[in-house]
């Protein structure tokens, strides 16, 4: 069933919209460069309005870039209309054909490709089976649940064996539980078909759990790319760190930079953190990036900073402790709470920063 999946290359892609209201212009996508390898699933992640959908729609061919090139496989498709591109899109609103049954919806692409009737029958059933909807083949899509509609949309796209599968927030209309299930399913199907996929989302958990690589966008530009762990553990900027997970920033001064470590001064305390690729310089103000899991709650004056416990939130396998400090409210995650001391609300405590898990960023 699988044919060779294709690479996607975005070269200096820019998209400028005319403001529909006034005479102004909106630069939705600004000089984006990125290579997607065959068979890879990447997510476009970023806040609302950052140009994710626009980028995806340009790959699909629904929008023409104002500048730059899009190359799928070895073919420059920049000017090709959607029907001439070997891409298939799963829309946020599904875009199912309301006047056709589930079967007809899924068969639509094959009919256009003049596949024989018996083969259509066979492949549609097989694909519906893959998404677990074989028994609903002859229903009208309007009488399906959201999750089922979503699967029809997915089946309709993958049955034509596109070289690139494009998904625009496909799960945003589903409830949390269903979303988690579908996420796993999409990943499983994508992997088993070995299809190249671009997945748009503004949900970082979705991005982290799904993708081979994450492309983080903001205001029309790519600000960082990398595997989920690279992005999570070594963000380039405060924005990325903040967007990709819960984090606290503590003002500090860079004292010394060696091959492996960065030594910083946090008020009167000296910390030696691991050095990640980062452009901090000695003597400059910087911040220490502290994830909830890279800190510990200890006795007052025993840690690097002091504070007062505001609230504790029990989550079962962990407790999230919100602590008021002079740096603002800091969230510390306490794993295995049953084996640790939990300070009551109002208690004065210290916070210890685990240097190996923390990172120094330029304060910008």
């Amino acid at each position: 069933m699988i044919k060779t999946s294709a690479s996607v290359k975005l070269e200096n892609i820019t998209k400028v919209f005319k403001d529909p209201a006034g005479k102004g212009e909106v630069t939705a996508v600004n000089n984006v460069n990125y290579d997607i390898k065959p068979g890879e699933l990447i997510t476009l992640l970023g806040p609302s309005g950052c140009g994710k959908t626009t980028t995806l729609r340009m790959i699909a061919g629904f929008e023409v870039p104002t500048g730059g090139k899009i190359i799928i496989g070895n073919e420059d498709v920049t000017q090709l209309p959607p029907n001439k591109r070997d891409t298939a899109t799963v829309f946020q609103s599904y875009g199912l054909f309301p006047h056709m049954t589930v079967f007809e919806n899924v068969a639509y692409g094959l009919k256009l490709r003049k596949v024989s009737k018996s083969e259509i029958e066979e492949r549609v059933i097989k694909t519906l089976d893959m998404v677990g909807l074989k028994h609903l083949a002859h229903r009208s899509p309007s009488r399906l649940s959201g999750g089922q509609q979503q699967r029809v949309a997915l089946a309709r796209s993958i049955i034509v064996e596109p070289s690139v599968l494009l998904l625009d927030e496909p799960l945003s209309n589903l409830d949390a539980l269903l979303r988690e299930q579908m996420r796993v399913e999409i990943r499983r199907i994508q992997k088993s078909l070995g299809i190249t996929a671009v997945y748009v989302t503004h949900d970082r958990v979705e991005a982290m759990s799904l993708s081979d690589r994450v492309v983080l966008m903001n205001a029309g530009k790519i600000i960082q790319t990398g595997t989920p762990s690279e992005i999570y553990e070594s963000p380039d900027s405060k924005f990325v760190a903040g967007f990709i997970g819960k984090v606290a920033f503590l003002d500090a001064e860079v004292k010394e930079i060696s091959d492996d470590f960065v030594t910083v001064k946090l008020q009167d305390k000296i910390l030696k953190t691991h050095k990640f690729s980062s452009d901090v310089k000695t003597g400059e103000p910087a911040v220490i990036m502290c994830r909830p899991e890279s800190m510990k709650v200890v006795e007052e004056n025993k840690g690097h900073i002091n504070g007062t416990v505001k609230t504790n939130v029990y989550l079962g396998n962990s407790v999230e402790s919100f602590i008021d400090t002079e740096h603002g409210e800091i969230l510390v995650q306490i794993d295995n709470p049953s084996q640790k001391k939990i300070y009551t609300e109002g208690a004065k405590v210290g916070i210890e920063i685990v240097p190996e898990l923390s990172k120094v960023l330029r304060n910008n």
């Binding site: 699909a60 061919g61 629904f62 023409v64 920049t78 000017q79 090709l80 209309p81 959607p82 029907n83 891409t87 298939a88 899109t89 829309f91 946020q92 609103s93 599904y94 875009g95 199912l96 054909f97 309301p98 006047h99 049954t101 639509y108 692409g109 256009l112 490709r113 009208s140 309007s142 949309a153 309709r156 796209s157 034509v160």
Partner: protein, 729 residues
């Protein structure tokens, strides 16, 4: 897209095509010129002998009379030897000779002739306002001696216009080629571009061009620019009388129709009354009643031999013809428009507003005048303007009921068909355009916006009774009277078709049916055929236009939206006149064919179809179509497999409207029919002109039946809409 190589290839190919094109066309032209020259030379040699004793003056005149495009001047005597005596057929030719005799061409011509050779002038000469070819040839006597020189003036203006046509074709071919090649090479989605281009060509040829021709004609007299026609129109009493006549009729009809419409709308939306469904059906029925039907029954009831006026009341000097009768018949026909406009507005005014006012101890009448009426005001104004526009554009009713009262639409028709003054007819119908378009624009862009501001939203379920008992009884009585009258009118037409001789002999007969259907067989057949052909074309074109307008971005989109809507706003009379002006001459000569009627139907009904298509398409999530094209469907496939099925209700209703409106068309089509392609409505008109009211009633009844059938069929088809549940964005 615009790579250098592509652009070079484009320019190169285009140059070659331009070269070939001109080469071919100049070949055609020179061949044609050669043929004419040979032909002319033949004529010259054919008549180069004359008896030496003939009366040369008479000879010259005879020849000029014999050949339509030839004038001849005869110079008696051999140039260089004798004194030449000039014989010209007319003053003008003599003048022409005297003016040009010193020119080089004339000198050469005479010299050649004296050597017994035929000479054709090299330069262009103009004679009698036309380009001519000039030949000089010796004239021989019966002994084959040269006795003089003939100067032959061949009028070649026919050739000129033929060459002009050729030039249009030559340039047209290049433009078409350039555009098509541009689209296929440089646009992203050629199919879409072709569709858009096609739509532009259609509205260009069938909307813009005829209107342009109509306007142009009113500024031309004897081939040159002139304001004469407009001067005549604006200063002649008869024409101005027609203008004010139309305005007066429009004001009266609009005002009374709005009152009646409001009566119905208010009663149905603000009071509790039994039989609402029946009342509203009756109040909308006239919208689809064929032209002439109401007029016809008014004449049968109140005419010179009217059942009521003559037989019942014994009046002998009463005349229904004129302003009064027209207002009555237009009001009966057009109050439904007002009703439909206002009932929507009244229904969407939240009646809690009225409740609030009543709670504050305002009286019911005070609440009505201070709350309900102001809120409904934009809707009322809108209704008034719509009826006004319709009354002005109305042609059928005044055509047989105006008597000596003058209105513009009929006056324009008489000018064109009766007097053959096309220019005046065009000017009069353009005059009609002024108030119509003004009213349309006010309605469209000002009032319709206002009404959105005042109306709060969803229809309210519960009604607060706003009228006291006596008022309610009055309202209901009025409504019953009007409905009874309306039923009476329709009954009269049906009765009229079964009566031997209305007004004289009321015996039952089926002869009318036999005779009218026999005589109307072909007209009915033509009408049904043409409407059936036009209907799917208009429907598909309308949905395609809606798709393009709603979903695609392209330069000139706004222009296209406006041009498509234009035929809705302009009176049919103007369309009819401009069509015969534009399409009765090359390059598009289609007057008298079925094609022009079909095209006219399509263009006139397009706006309504496009509107309903646009409204429906706005409700459909664009990602449905995107999904289809993403899966590999090109534009026509998306249209056929996705858009059309999704727009089915809009599509079917636009089909049935086109069919019905085509069947019942009259104002434009009356100019376009021919002996070969007749129209049932025009036949009804002819019958009633000849006082064959029985036959006319039969045809009107037939039309009513056809219309009802078409709408019934539409209802049936639209309701059968099981699995089409639109996803709304």
């Amino acid at each position: 897209m615009f790579s250098k190589k592509k652009v070079y290839i484009y320019i190169f190919v285009l140059l070659i095509v331009v070269f070939l094109d001109f080469w071919i066309f100049s070949n055609i032209k020179s061949t044609f010129v050669k043929i004419t020259n040979d032909n002319n030379k033949n004529i010259v040699t054919l008549i180069d002998t004359v008896h030496s004793e003939t009366d040369y003056n008479k000879w010259v005149k005879d020849i000029s009379a014999k050949y339509e495009n030839l004038s001849i001047i005869y110079l008696n005597g051999v140039p260089g030897f004798d004194d030449l005596v000039t014989y010209a057929g007319s003053e003008e030719s003599l003048e022409f000779y005297q003016e040009n005799s010193e020119s080089k061409d004339f000198q050469n011509g005479l010299e050649y002739a004296s050597y017994s050779e035929i000479y054709k002038s090299q330069n262009k000469f103009i004679y009698d306002g036309k380009n001519i070819d000039l030949y000089f040839s010796p004239v021989y006597d019966e002994n084959e001696d040269i006795i003089g020189v003939g100067i032959y003036l061949f009028d070649n203006s026919e050739n000129e216009s033929f060459f002009n046509l050729l030039n249009i074709f030559a340039v047209g071919i290049i433009i078409i080629f350039a555009v098509i090649m541009y689209i296929s090479k440089f646009t992203r989605d050629p199919v879409m571009s072709y569709i858009i281009l096609g739509l532009f060509i259609i509205v260009g040829i069938f909307v813009v061009y005829p209107l342009y021709e109509a306007v142009r004609l009113t500024f031309i007299k004897n081939g040159v620019f002139s304001l004469e026609i407009w001067k005549t129109i604006l200063t002649t009493n008869q024409y101005m009388e027609a203008f004010w006549g139309s305005m007066k009729l429009g004001l009266m009809t609009a005002t009374i129709s709005t009152l009646v419409g409001f009566l119905f709308a208010f009663t149905l939306s603000r009071t509790t009354v039994k039989g609402k469904k029946f009342i509203s059906t009756m109040a909308t029925l006239p919208v689809i009643s064929p032209p002439f039907s109401l007029t016809l029954s008014i004449i049968l009831l109140f005419g010179n031999n009217g059942l009521i006026t003559k037989q019942l009341l014994g009046m002998s000097n009463f005349s229904i013809y004129g302003l009064g009768g027209l207002t009555l018949v237009q009001t009966m026909g057009m109050f439904p428009i007002a009703y439909l406009t206002m009932v929507g507005v009244l229904q969407s005014i939240d009646s809690t507003l009225e409740d609030a006012s009543l709670d504050l101890n305002a009286s019911k009448s005070r609440t009505f005048f201070k709350v309900t009426l102001p809120l409904a005001a934009p809707g009322i104004l809108s209704a008034w303007l719509l009826v006004f526009t319709n009354s002005l554009a109305d042609f059928a009713n005044p055509l047989i009921l105006s008597g000596s009262y003058k209105v513009l639409s009929v006056e324009a028709y008489i000018e064109v068909t009766g007097m053959g003054r096309l220019g005046n007819g065009a000017a009069l119908s353009l005059l009609l355009l002024l108030p119509t378009v003004t009213a349309f624009l006010i309605q469209r862009f000002w009032v319709s916006k206002k009404s959105f501001v005042t109306v709060t939203g969803k229809p309210s379920g519960r009604i607060t009774e706003l009228v006291s008992k006596p008022v309610k009884i009055t309202l209901n009585t009025l409504i019953i009277l009007i409905i009874v009258f309306l039923i009476g009118l329709y009954g009269t037409i049906i009765a009229g078709s079964f009566v031997k001789n209305w007004g004289i002999d009321y015996t039952f007969t089926l002869d009318n049916f036999r005779e009218a259907l026999q005589r109307g067989k072909e007209a009915i057949g033509d009408t049904v055929t043409l409407a059936t052909v036009a209907t799917p074309i208009a429907g598909i074109l309308a949905m395609l236009t809606a798709l393009v307008v709603v979903r695609k971005k392209f330069p000139g989109k706004r222009l296209m939206e406006i041009l498509v809507m234009v035929p809705f706003a302009i009176p049919g009379t103007l369309i009819g006149i401009s069509y015969i002006l534009a399409f009765n001459k090359p390059p598009i000569l289609i007057v008298g064919t079925a094609f022009i009627i079909v095209i006219n139907y399509v263009i006139r009904e397009l706006p309504v179809g496009v509107e309903s298509g646009v409204a429906a398409l706005r409700q459909i999530d664009p990602s449905i179509e995107e999904a289809a094209s993403d899966l590999g469907a090109d534009v026509p496939t998306v249209f056929r497999t996705i858009v059309l099925p999704l727009l089915r209700p809009a599509f079917i209703s636009s089909l049935s409207y086109t069919f019905v409106r085509s069947m019942t068309a009259v104002s434009a089509v009356i100019f376009l029919i021919s002996a070969k392609w007749y129209h049932i409505t025009v036949l009804i008109y002819n019958f009633s002109e000849n006082l064959r009211f029985g036959y006319a009633s039969v045809l009107a009844t037939t039309l009513i039946v056809i219309v009802l059938l078409a709408f019934g069929l539409m209802r049936l088809l639209v309701r059968d809409n099981k699995n089409l549940e639109k996803t709304i964005n």
